[in-house]
């Protein structure tokens, strides 16, 4: 789960990281009032959970409250990479001497958090990594030991930070790491961390991603989730505990297991490609899905107008085939439909599962024994539809 810039920065501040004292506006008028309260030039920044905000015109400098209002009017409602801007952050404008990059993320290969720092802040750090990899300093953190003082020194040295700023830099790095740990974050990023003309450090932009698997122990962070720009089916899927990604094809796929779901997607693409047929979605119902979860998955698939055929591919391990069958029957009883259904059900309790499906005698249903057969049948059904 990603946090907005303003949410990230407000949280950074709780961990002792200096940030501009801006406020969030949902209307142009609010933006004007905030700018007037701040006094002096401000920056009006679109709060939207995607990148490329600057290039899209979502960040503007305003020299007066009136100008702030105008910018907010232009930015609010704007679509950036398909996401509608519903809030702007109005921050006092900072006088920047230097821009630094400071971020923490998980290095899965090293199995440790890694602190990343660069004197080339303010720009896309991936770009820096491509063009000047030497400008990026990394320090891996022992998760049991935490961030050590000498590691912070290594970063400060690496970016040639003036010695007078080592102490405040150390406080910021320590605070960022503590924020990262205490938030179960997978990313805490300050870009840029600026040196002001008064030689102070300040986090001018911020970004946080939280480990979805850890949200159960962070109800305060879970409450920060902004679903206003999310497709409703994805919200529904998440609430039902399903992993769902919308795609462009016609075959609504419901599969248990991410790998099998990907393979199902791959296979329908493979057999359908020539005819412009492919998967309408990636949908993993997870390991222990019960009848209710399966029904929720079917509702989400049926809500997609592109879907011409439903392909259920279930290999029963922890999810028992009879449970799945009950879920399928329940879902189609709730939303009766003539849409063609290709069902492949194997694994634990497969005989009971198939027996239940046969007994239910759903309309337009066919069954397959192998994934290849199921994919071919689904593609053929789209062509026949």
């Amino acid at each position: 789960m990603n946090l907005h810039e303003y949410q990230s920065k407000f949280r950074f501040e709780e961990f002792g990281i200096p940030v501009p004292h801006g406020k969030v506006a949902e209307t142009p008028e609010q933006a004007r009032l905030i700018a007037a309260e701040i006094g002096g030039p401000v920056v009006v920044k679109a709060q939207v959970l995607t990148g490329g905000r600057g290039k899209a015109g979502g960040v503007k400098l305003a020299r007066s409250p009136e100008e702030a209002e105008q910018h907010a009017r232009a930015i609010l409602g704007m679509a950036i990479r398909g996401k509608i801007v519903r809030k702007v952050l109005v921050d006092p404008a900072a006088r920047i001497k230097q821009e630094i990059y400071l971020g923490i993320t998980n290095d899965r290969a090293a199995r440790k958090p890694v602190l990343i720092c660069s004197a080339e802040g303010g720009m896309d750090i991936e770009e820096v990594n491509r063009t000047k990899p030497g400008a990026i300093i990394r320090e891996h953190i022992d998760p049991l030991l935490g961030l050590r003082g000498y590691q912070i020194n290594a970063l400060a040295l690496g970016i040639e930070l003036p010695y007078a700023l080592w102490r405040p830099f150390g406080k910021i790095a320590t605070g960022l790491y503590k924020c990262y740990v205490d938030s179960d974050a997978t990313l805490c990023e300050i870009n840029p961390l600026i040196i002001t003309e008064n030689d102070e450090l300040m986090a001018v932009d911020g970004k946080m991603s939280i480990d979805d698997n850890a949200l159960f122990r962070h109800p305060d962070l879970a409450a920060l989730r902004d679903t206003s720009a999310e497709p409703p089916e994805e919200i529904q899927a998440r609430e039902a505990g399903l992993s769902y990604v919308k795609l462009d094809g016609q075959i609504g796929c419901m599969v248990n297991g991410a790998g099998l779901a990907m393979a199902t997607m791959d296979m329908t693409s493979l057999y359908g490609e020539a005819d412009g047929i492919g998967p309408a979605n990636f949908l993993d119902i997870g390991g222990g899905a019960d009848a209710e979860t399966v029904a929720a998955a079917l509702r989400i698939i049926l809500a997609d107008p592109n879907v011409k055929v439903i392909l259920l591919n279930i290999f029963g391990g922890i999810t028992r085939a009879d449970e799945v069958a009950r879920g399928v029957i329940a879902a189609f009883t709730e939303h009766p439909t003539d849409i063609p259904k290709v069902i492949r059900l194997v694994g634990t309790n497969e005989d009971q599962g198939r027996a239940l499906l046969q007994a239910a005698a759903l309309p337009n249903m066919s069954t397959a024994m192998t994934l290849a057969d199921a994919a071919r049948m689904a593609v053929a059904a789209v062509k026949g539809a």
Binding site: N2, T105, A109, L144, G259, A263, M265, G347
Partner: protein, 286 residues
Amino acid sequence: MSVLIDRNTRLIVQGITGQQGLFHTRQMIAYGTNVVGGVTPGKGGQWVEGKPVFDMVRTARETTGANATVIYVPAAGAADAILEAIDAGIELIVAITEGLPIADMMRVRRVLDQSNSRLVGPNCPGLLTPGQAKVGIMPGHIAMPGSVGVVSRSGTLTYEAIYALTQRGIGQSSCVGIGGDPINGTSFIDVLGLFEDDPETEKIVLIGEIGGTDEQKAAAFIAQRMTKPVVAFIAGRKAPEGRTMGHAGAIVESGVGTAAEKIARFQEVGVRVAETPDQIADLIAR
């Protein structure tokens, strides 16, 4: 012969009194696995399916001589369950639980690396040595004894491969699901090494996914160390570009992990890569 488990494995079940734990304990016993007991804090002294339940892994091990454990406890307590098993000196720990916070796994992994325990998983289907024992949630009846070792990051996709092999009359020595989490206990390399050293394994099936670099490392390991033929399958060729974790994440991962890249690396070192799960069995049969 086999890898990791066989009929002499003495298994305990952590979370034996939970719904999943109980269901799969029955399945494991029915398959012939030597389940010697279970652990649920606060329920020590009870009996489940004729097996004693203990409050702690420590006492379970002392009493039963268990050398393996399988973990079905919910995600919030799974890291603690793994640490408890490590602390009790259990040699083989199989964690089925999915959804472990990554921070928990980083700590677990750090402790694991200094222990004598092996962890398989988390978020994995477990282990199956056909005809001898199953530890976890794999449907046992789709497998048959033989000489193909199967190792996989995916759960259900593993079953596909086993099912296809069995349908063609090709048996398996052992099947190992290592789990798809970013940080886990056992890697492809670990299991490839075990299969290479196992006299009964003649060929190996490796099932990978997009993301991470485990498959690339496996390719390098195969080139350096493996004498036995390996057939691979990579899921996610047609996956849409994932939502990245953010910029720092993208740097760390360095843009690696596409299916195309992984397939290329395998092909470079002479590993045959199947286009569809069904083809896996074809390539093995050749």
